[in-house]
């Protein structure tokens, strides 16, 4: 069973996720960033049910294991759509929403096909293998998409501060997990230390988004020159 520190980090993370939705509603930005908020609200709900299952059945129970991995895939798909909605926002002035939607659906379908191709030889637990593989692959697609989006933000001289904050925080969030994952694979001996970092990283995205909703007004703009300096 997890220790007190892990429970505290998990609680903090869940509170921050709820804070994102509350701040968005308070600032009247819930509908504008509906996919981001749906992702955060679902994450809160999933955390509550996970906690309940964990208390009743334990960490190594099949109930918790299956619920954890299946809901993680669901959350990753929601995060993917949240990222696609940020693409739509960045490309809104170019009237390119339909192309963004087409690209998002194609990419999701391609990732699902690729994941199936990887796991189809698994005779046992094929669906579970597929769900975990899809979640992993979609995560890496999200990582690459975030950097593509950041490139588009720079190229199009996007100036909306809140949007830039959200894209940047998403990039940092994905990068932290990828770096941790790579280190865990490269140095298995450090696994005992590195395995405690992902829950902490999990708090970063809701904290950054809650800050963006709370402190950065929708009409705040960055000077394009400042973005160019970052580049």
């Amino acid at each position: 069973m997890p220790g007190l520190v892990e429970y505290l980090i998990w609680s903090l993370c869940t509170l921050l996720e709820a804070a994102v939705v509350v701040c968005a509603i308070k600032r009247g930005a819930f509908r504008k960033y509906v996919f981001l908020n749906v992702y955060m609200a679902t994450s809160v709900l999933v955390s509550l049910v996970r906690f309940d299952i964990l208390q009743h059945y334990g960490l190594r129970s099949s109930q918790y294991i299956y619920f954890y991995y299946y809901t993680d895939a669901l959350l990753t798909i929601f995060l993917y759509f949240a990222l696609a909605s940020l693409f739509s926002s960045v490309f809104s002035e170019m009237q390119a929403e339909q192309y963004v939607k087409l690209g998002a659906v194609l990419l999701l379908g391609g990732t699902a096909l690729f994941s199936y191709a990887v796991v189809y030889q698994s005779q046992a637990k094929l669906v579970t293998h597929f769900v975990v593989e899809l979640s992993q692959n979609l995560y890496f697609v999200g990582l690459v998409l975030t950097y593509v989006l950041w490139g588009a933000v720079l190229k199009l001289r996007e100036t909306r501060t809140r949007l830039i904050q959200m894209v940047l925080s998403l990039g940092v969030y994905f990068s932290l997990f990828a770096a941790n994952y790579a280190l865990r694979n490269l140095y298995p001996s450090m696994n005992s230390v590195l395995q405690y970092l992902p829950p902490l990283f999990g708090c970063f995205l809701p904290a950054a988004w809650a800050y963006a909703f709370l402190r950065i007004p929708e009409d705040a703009r960055l000077a394009p020159a400042r973005l160019a300096v970052i580049r």
Partner: protein, 72 residues
């Protein structure tokens, strides 16, 4: 039409890029999975039954140090 084809091409390029990145990152795969949603404790993967230590691969006989490959 050309715009749609460009979108298809970009989607495929991103998919190839992402899967290549995953291959690089998991080059030394030790079976860990990447979990990036929320702070819930990560359970063992569903296809790892029990918490028993993973035995050495069947083609490594004994605990002797592995010599360099013969063609070096």
């Amino acid at each position: 039409m050309s715009r749609k084809l460009t979108v298809v091409l970009l989607a495929m390029l991103i998919l190839v890029g992402a899967m290549s990145l995953k291959t690089v990152v998991t080059a030394h795969d030790n079976g860990a999975v990447i979990m990036a949603n929320g702070g819930a404790p990560v359970p063992p993967t569903p296809w790892k039954n029990g918490g028993a230590p993973v035995p050495p691969t069947p083609w490594k006989n004994g605990g002797a140090p592995v010599p360099p490959t013969p063609w070096k």
